[in-house]
Subunit: 358 residues, 2 copies
């Protein structure tokens, strides 16, 4: 007889994108930033690796919280550092979701949300997006009315589209919380700066952010949540005492303090995104206008798995995705390719390879 | 009305030991190693901070698992890396404990165990140790018979004593798991090397280890669990995909591969522990013979809080601890000082200050 909780046995677990550890790949599958982190991050890391690693880090991550608070013009009590956005999503589940509680999120979207609810043994329901990725607001609101938590990634993944503030606010559960996952927020043409937290509904919103994408620090594992201090205080009980290590905190603080570096890289990625979108359209793909560092591309005739495999044979990795049980499609599923916006030469190589495939 | 789960609202959360961030303290309160990590760790970190931090780490931590597996002569499938031992304890709770499940652990012991069960909303019961820190085995077994999980720190904290393998095996729940927390295992005169995992009972044991203590890497946050692959596979579903960052994995791998450095430091700490124990006894303290990098000292007449405060006024931090509701003491509680084994000069300073206090 298994000793595991039934919900643990029942699920397969989240399968992250392929992470080949050897060099030589054009890696456009897990939305990493193709540019290196700020030189100031490296300088901070250089210092801290010689600075008493035998001692525990600051359990509250105070300097990092101060840097984030300054950036968002909030008090540091609004900030909870975490070991990547993933940890904050886990902390949110464990803080708020009992087995009778309903968690809802758009579909198609980031598949980790469903796994996290399953691991917490909560209930979940998908909010089916329309084929153009917009909301069927009336249907969605009928569901969020009964929810404890709505999770909205904005921009959404895998599509990169962003929804309006009005749509978002209308999906806050009357007796629950909205988690606004802004992992890709900095890549939007007009990035948000926590505006929704300041309104009347602000005490019912938790914004999650990561340094993995726009700050080029996927290897360092740092994210943070922004929310009213009453929420942050409770969530903090759930975190491990020393959830962020000394190096990560020091590097992340330096990254937040070098906004110019991040803004220059995200501007470059926006420019490449425009070129890449135009190139894919030219090759006959349909492409969702993206506000993130990836695009969702579908081809009207060639199977997406085949394109993925042919690219992989040429050492170009993109993310082939299947979303089954999607009622708004005649085939009852959505498939497509989520392709990270790499450097210009990487995207040239991608487009060149695709030209030979389609 | 609070949106938090009732168990989150009900608890205070674990309060870690004081972590002053400014220098100038003799820090003997959170069992950090006073010696720096291996120079090979620093070399590995020097390399990896220039090595594509914009990319995600290996989600499985393969190189680290291989190094640990080699050390313990196990297959890598027996190893689960984590963001410190704390994360593995949290993963264990989330993997195995439903609200009806009973978790038991010795008392007095590491107070985090109780917090973790409360956060998971499981049931818990303390196994009261005898005043000499040995087991009342018959009473304890009557309780473990009904448990889903027994957690035993070996050596125990705050006392540093170690229990026999026979005692430990006799406390494995018949229908559950034993978690053997060997955070301080390397400081024992005869360290364990996963022997209990190889016996008949091995498939019901999870050993947790940390690099924070013996490897001088509290600042890096890396621990690992050792258990049968059937257990590790289930626990892995519960972890965040990228729970350990690139720097931590690289540094921890280098640390594991430099056994000489760790062994030389732990030998020095054992030598200082002997001197420190003798010095405390000479000053009139009672000291539990310790197999860890701290000692538990009690004084027959002077209040422990007073000693703690007078030391703190001299910038020496030790851990003053109170264990209430302890039925085997006339006062119904245990108090004492848990003092980390620092460097020889630090311990000289401690003993000198104590001489002025007692």
């Amino acid at each position: 007889m298994s000793l595991f909780r039934p919900n643990v046995d029942a699920i397969l677990g989240y399968v992250p994108g392929e992470q080949p550890q050897e060099p030589g790949w054009v890696k456009l599958n897990t939305n990493e930033n193709p540019y290196p982190p700020s030189p100031k991050v490296i300088e901070a890391l250089e210092r801290v690796i010689h600075d008493r690693l035998n001692l525990y880090p600051d359990p509250l991550g105070s300097k990092f919280r101060q840097a984030v608070a300054k950036l968002f013009q909030l008090d540091p009590e609004w900030v909870l550092p975490a070991n990547g956005s993933d940890e904050n999503l886990t902390i949110l589940m464990r803080s708020f979701i009992n087995s009778s509680d309903l968690v809802v999120y758009p579909y198609p979207s980031y598949i980790l949300y469903e796994t996290l609810v399953d691991l917490q043994a909560g209930r979940h329901q998908r909010l089916h997006l329309q084929p153009d990725w917009s909301w069927d607001l009336r249907a969605a609101q009928a569901i969020t009315a009964k929810a404890k938590m709505t999770i909205l990634p904005n921009p959404n993944s895998p599509t990169g589209n962003r929804w309006s503030d009005a749509d978002i606010v209308s999906l806050i559960p009357p007796d629950g919380l909205l988690v606004l996952d802004e992992a890709y927020g900095d890549f939007a043409d007009q990035p948000h700066q926590g505006e929704l937290l300041r309104g009347e509904q602000g005490s019912k919103i938790v914004v999650t952010r990561t340094l993995s994408k726009s700050y080029s620090l996927a290897g360092l594992r740092v994210g943070f949540a922004l929310a009213h201090p009453d929420l942050i205080r409770g969530m903090r009980k759930m975190k491990d005492s020393y959830n962020c290590d000394k190096l990560s905190l020091a590097g992340a603080t330096a990254a937040i303090e070098d906004q110019n570096w991040m803004k220059s890289n995200t501007a470059q990625i926006r420019a490449t995104r425009r070129r890449m979108t135009a190139g894919l359209l030219e090759l006959g793909f349909q492409v969702v206008p993206s506000q993130a560092n990836f695009v969702w591309a579908t081809h009207p005739s060639i199977p997406h798995r085949q394109i993925y495999e042919q690219l992989k044979a040429q050492k170009i990795l993109v993310r082939f995705m299947v979303f089954p049980d999607y009622p708004n499609s005649p085939s009852n599923e959505i498939t497509g390719l989520r392709i990270t916006v790499g450097t210009d030469p990487e995207i040239d190589q991608l487009l060149h390879s695709l030209k030979g495939i389609v």
